[in-house]
């Protein structure tokens, strides 16, 4: 009853968001569609009782991955991309993706992986799926877990290799150097005579333009 309606609400939200991603001329609007899709997908997860996964979806996809997309959109020149729009070139690839996805869906439906009954709302009191995940992830599924660690390491190294360009034309602050500087390095004590300057190098190179009389 009520779960059905809420399902319809979130499902419509996902479709609208996804449609916006595809149809929007402005990439930023497509980005907004992506946010809508993620939020509604998280809502569906929570509706099916997987509240940990739902919140994780918001935290990781919405809070991190989409933020990176937004940074990319903000820091590139969008006009530049309009010039190279050639939608037809991507048609075969798109059709292939659609075919693969459709095949997967049909297979999954044949094996009865889709349940059409949404009967429950999560109560917040049921066995917590975060604990169920935790109980198996770090012991039974230790190999995939460690592999995901390696994937993250690869991503980290890859990001640095691809984007990091050390700049040599800027002065950096070295706090250790600043703190460890001694009195001898930075300061020379002299007792200058009147009218003769300090007698150090700085004073030798400094010549007054005109002497006041």
């Amino acid at each position: 009853m009520l779960p059905d309606l809420i399902f319809a609400l979130f499902a419509t939200g996902i479709l609208v968001g996804a449609g916006l991603i595809i149809a929007a001329r402005n990439p930023m609007l497509g980005m907004l569609g992506m946010l809508v899709t993620f939020i509604n997908a998280a809502g569906l997860f929570i509706l099916f009782g997987a509240e940990f996964l739902g919140l994780l979806l918001i935290m990781v996809y919405l809070g991190a991955i989409a933020v990176m997309f937004l940074f990319v959109l903000m820091t590139i020149d969008l006009e530049f991309f309009k010039l190279r729009e050639k939608p037809k070139a991507y048609l075969p690839l798109g059709l292939l993706t659609v075919a693969v996805l459709a095949g997967e869906f049909i297979l999954a439906a044949n094996y009865g992986l889709f349940s059409t009954n949404v009967t429950m709302l999560p109560t917040g009191e049921q066995p917590q799926n975060i604990i169920q995940i935790g109980n198996v992830l770090f012991t039974t599924y230790v190999l995939p877990f460690q592999l995901s660690g390696l994937v993250l390491l690869t991503a980290m190294v890859g990001a640095i290799v691809l984007t990091h360009r050390p700049r040599s034309d800027v002065k950096r602050q070295s706090i250790t150097k600043q703190v460890l500087r001694t009195k001898e390095e930075g300061l020379t004590m002299t007792k200058p005579k009147l009218g003769h300057g300090t007698g150090t190098n700085v004073a030798k190179h400094w010549k007054p333009k005109s002497v006041a009389k």
Partner: protein, 350 residues
């Protein structure tokens, strides 16, 4: 059509309508005090800053200037809204709403203490993953600012927004790690359980370094002094809200101050025992828990204003250095120390 009438007859029942009405009532009971509290946080900040500068702060509207926030709100309502010509109009209007909605939604899970009459917990949604809910929802906050900077299509807002986005994102990691250390101590992610686990000792004592790092991180997360680089007026005019006026501007303002109160409440619950009195002895535990929570929130807000009154602004490279090179490794190390201690000695769960 049959389906519709079916839905209508089964859903629109007296019980369901009563449920809807009470829920809306409770929501208003939470949202209205939060918004009023936000208005008076601005007054509180101006007053405290004034005294710190040997000034009076607002004092002409009402006794002690108490009507100042209301005057400000009314003024902003009657200001002219304008939308820059070069901006993206839809997103220009959506951005302030995105900055405001998440910080208010967090209040759905904040527990306000035990009901003094029935002893039950006062909270709208008592969910098991309360901590994660707060972290997830506050991570959406950054969109309002980033979109505002982009939609304005003006240089200062753009620079302010990009800075702000990178800054909030950088401190979110160490915040998450610190919160994890608290979860380890309490053995639960339910906010009420975390408070109840502090009955023996408030967590800011066993987790003192984490507490200090968390206080600094919430300053950066809320874009508050000394980390308010996104709106550093000397270099960026007003950052992401340069082009905004009237209520759109007010929504950013609301978002920032509600975020301050929200983060203070979160800190009070994680480290300062939430609604628990400092000692469970006679005169102190007569005071209702909600008052204690309120006092703790005010104390943390005072800390935030105090930082603004005392400290000079950070430079951007120093800010990123503090986040990535100091807080991240330190909070990481603290998490591992806590994990080993908890694994060996057990947690403090009530």
């Amino acid at each position: 059509m049959e389906l519709l009438t079916h839905y209508a007859t089964t859903l629109v029942t007296f019980d369901n309508l009563l449920m809807l009405a009470t829920t809306l009532g409770i929501i208003l009971l939470i949202a209205v005090p939060v918004l009023l509290g936000m208005a008076y946080t601005t007054w509180f900040e101006r007053k405290i800053l004034g005294w710190m500068h040997l000034r009076h702060g607002p004092m002409h509207t009402g006794p002690f200037g108490l009507l100042q926030p209301i005057a400000d709100a009314v003024k902003l309502m009657f200001k002219e809204p304008f939308i820059p010509g070069a901006s993206n109009k839809v997103m220009f209007l959506i951005a302030p709403m995105l900055a405001f909605i998440p910080v208010l939604v967090v209040w759905a899970v904040i527990p306000f203490g035990e009901n003094p009459f029935t002893g039950s917990l006062m909270v709208l949604a008592n969910i098991n993953l309360g901590v994660m809910f707060i972290l997830a929802v506050t991570s959406i906050e950054v969109y309002g600012i980033l979109l505002a900077g982009w939609a304005s299509n003006s240089k200062y807002p753009f620079l302010g927004a990009v800075r702000s986005g990178a800054q909030m994102v950088s401190y979110e990691v160490s915040m998450g790690l610190i919160v994890l250390a608290v979860i380890l101590l309490a053995g639960s992610m339910n906010l009420a359980d975390i408070v109840n686990a502090q009955k023996t000792v408030w967590f800011f004592i066993p987790a003192f370094p984490a507490f200090i790092m968390f206080l600094v991180s919430i300053l950066a997360e809320c874009n508050r002094h000394p980390f308010d680089l996104p709106e550093a007026e000397a270099e960026l005019v007003a950052g992401y809200n340069t082009e905004y006026s009237a209520m759109s501007f007010a929504l950013f303002f609301l978002g920032e101050y509600v975020a301050m109160i929200t983060m203070s409440a979160f800190t009070a619950i994680l480290f300062l025992g939430g609604w628990l009195p400092p000692f469970d002895v006679a005169p102190l535990n007569w005071i209702p828990g909600t008052i204690w929570l309120l006092l703790k929130i005010i104390a943390i807000l005072f800390f935030m204003v105090w930082a603004r009154g005392t400290l000079p602004r950070y430079r951007y490279d120093q800010l990123m250095r503090l986040g990535w090179k100091i807080f991240l490794p330190l909070s990481f190390a603290w998490l591992i120390i806590t994990a080993i201690a908890v694994k060996l000695l057990g947690n403090l769960a009530a």
